[in-house]
Amino acid sequence: MTLVMRLSRPLRSRTLGMLIVRRLLLVPLVLFAVVTIVFFAMRLIPGSPATTLGVAGTEGLSSKQIQENIDALTKTLGLDRPLLEQFGTYLLAVSRLDLGYSFFGSNSVVSLLKNTLPATIELVFTAMIIAVILGVVTGVVAAMRRGKALDSIILAFATVSFSLPWFALGVLGIIVFSVQLGWLPVLGRLPTSLGYQPTTNFVLLDAILQNRPDLVLPWIEHLILPALTLAISMAGFITRMVRASVLEVLGDDFIRTARMKGLDEWHIMSGHVLRNSSLPVVTVLGLQFGSLLGGSVITETVFSYPGVGNLLVSAVNQHDYLLVQGAVFAVALLFILTNVVVDILYYVLDPRLRKA
């Protein structure tokens, strides 16, 4: 693992190209680890897809016939082969970017992901944007009002929201805004009545490509509640980080220099504090994106939102090995690529990392 350690060690003065190459070299290694873990973890779960499939629609058959049915399926799916051989076969297929087929229905894993991944990306990035805006604004305000009532209120909200579980928030949101107030739709991504035919499956992009401005409002209405649900706990986290970071930077000597120059508090905050205090926040943001992806699985289930998370939950329930492996593979890839972007952002923000 020394290679992994070398590639992932803290950034030093390097060119941006080098940085990206180093991070991208990590991708196959991380993906290999993810695929391995998921492959074996799935097979540790009691039950098998052959059983799930073989039992379905078998009323009236004897248990012997059912068992024969299951055995035949096991053979067809290749699950009778030695585990390591199955693993080897799968790895080979993955290396050709062939993620296989779902055991249930004849869809390829790739096509299923094509349908669901854009929905998850929309959800997660919307949540991220909301969380960053909310977290930075409240964090800065709290820091500027340190020790005052407003600071305490913001901190209290941040702590509570940070500790609230996603499913509780989601259900609460549905009850209040959809059921009681009736402001927002309860479930799904878009009403079927709109007759949406995906091109890229990114609704906003398709709305432009297909010239369907009528898609936008329903899309936002469906997205806002799950995105807020996801965003709120992350925002609480960001609030606390930003507050701490701003307070630390405010104590730095160069802020005293800014004050000596005659800058007012607003210009000190916008010109000197914000960028400096964003550095630690940006670092954590990439890692927090992971927990956001985890939260999206729960949120999508609560809202019946047709994303990868939803797909993953049903796939796990059905022991749909290849689909689970493929979905986790895709989510891991999304996580890694986001972190590459975060690294680049960090590099752009802090000149000390650049080569002289």
Binding site: G147, D252, M260, N276, L349
Partner: protein, 354 residues
């Protein structure tokens, strides 16, 4: 006690005689609130600064010299700082001035060179931008013009290839260059007063000399009045016209550099000088020291706070001595000691026994 104008005819160019002080500090007190009460840092300082002079404030750590100079521009204001007294500057009373008023003074009329330039410069901004920011803030010039002026200023403080180096970030500069850049920022608007807070402490000796030379030549050129805060008597001898020696939050002696360094009156000043090794002459086996250590803020004794360490303690020392001249022929050289007040001659060998 105030130093009256005619007594300070000691500017290097002799031109600061018979002038009104540009900055006049009276009964300045600075205290820091802590859990265990208010710790006084500055305990009633009176001080005048004249145009174009270099005044050194000397003292050891905790003597209140930095707290005093920072409170002049309100840079240590905060919920835990209590500042009282007055400091008159160009018709503004700096101590009670609003932040808004102070902002019009800071950077434009009074600027500060800080000690640790690496920490004092914003790590994410280019050097040129940090100088230009100072210019655009107080002068009505375009951004492009400000940048040109910043480059000019960087050249003036001795940064080579200033147009190129203006694009550098602080971490790409050496310590000396950073301190030069810091100086360029401070002098960018040609301030009336420059406060240099230990400007050479973080630098090695050769660079120290360069920075002092730079300060001295720019000060002469621009006619800036400089308050240089230092614990280094070498710096004082090098650059200062007048010296104020601070001990435990008070000025214990003030006078021209010659007077204070060559004819010190206060036992503390004498002890301080005696404990400074000379560059020439035999190397002493051990340097004389002043026994004990300065009282911590909260533990200051009543009366003269140097008394517990002083070799010449009198009964009178239980009462605080006032800063006054004890030489009828020269009222510019003042000290706060009962020995002078009671005209008790101090034996010459005292310097070695301290």
């Amino acid at each position: 006690m105030a130093t009256s104008p005619e007594q300070s005819s000691s500017g290097a160019d002799g031109s600061s005689a018979a002038r009104e002080p540009i900055l006049s500090v009276r009964d300045l007190r600075v205290g820091f609130r802590t859990r265990s009460g208010v710790v006084p840092a500055v305990d009633g300082v009176d001080l005048d600064l004249y145009a174009g002079e270099v005044l050194a404030i000397v003292g050891e750590s905790g003597s209140g010299k930095s707290a005093m100079s920072m409170s002049l521009v309100g840079l240590n204001r905060g919920p835990r700082t209590m500042i009282s007294g007055t400091a008159h500057f160009r018709g503004i009373e700096l101590i009670s001035a609003s932040e808004r008023q102070l902002r019009s003074v800071r950077g434009k009329h009074i600027a500060v060179v800080f000690q640790d330039a690496l920490a004092a410069l914003n790590p994410l901004h280019r050097i040129g931008k940090q100088v230009a920011e100072m210019i655009t803030l107080h002068q009505k010039v375009s951004g492009r013009r400000a940048k040109d002026m910043a480059v000019q200023m960087l050249g003036d403080v001795g940064i080579s290839n200033p147009r190129h180096n203006a694009e550098a970030y602080p971490h790409q500069f050496s310590g000396g260059m950073r301190q030069r850049a810091m100086t360029a920022i401070a002098l960018a608007n040609d301030p009336t007063v420059l406060i240099a807070d230990e400007p050479t402490t973080a630098l090695d000796v050769t660079i120290q000399a360069q920075i002092l030379d730079l300060l001295k030549s720019l000060q002469r050129e621009l006619g800036t009045a400089v308050v240089i805060v230092t614990h280094d008597l070498g710096v004082v001898a090098d650059i200062a016209d007048r010296v104020a020696v601070m001990y435990s939050g008070r000025i214990v002696e003030i006078g021209t550099t010659e007077q204070v360094l060559y004819a010190p009156k206060h036992p503390y000043t004498r002890g301080l000088l005696a404990s400074t090794p000379g560059v020439t002459g035999p190397i002493p086996a051990s340097l004389p020291t002043i026994p004990g250590s300065p009282p911590m803020g909260a533990e200051r004794p009543d009366g003269c706070s140097f008394a517990p360490r002083c070799a010449f303690v009198l009964r009178e020392c239980a009462t605080t001595p006032i800063l006054a001249s004890h030489d009828p022929s020269d009222s510019g050289h003042q000290d706060a000691c009962w020995l002078g007040e009671l005209t008790i001659p101090v034996p010459d060998e005292s310097r070695s026994t301290l």
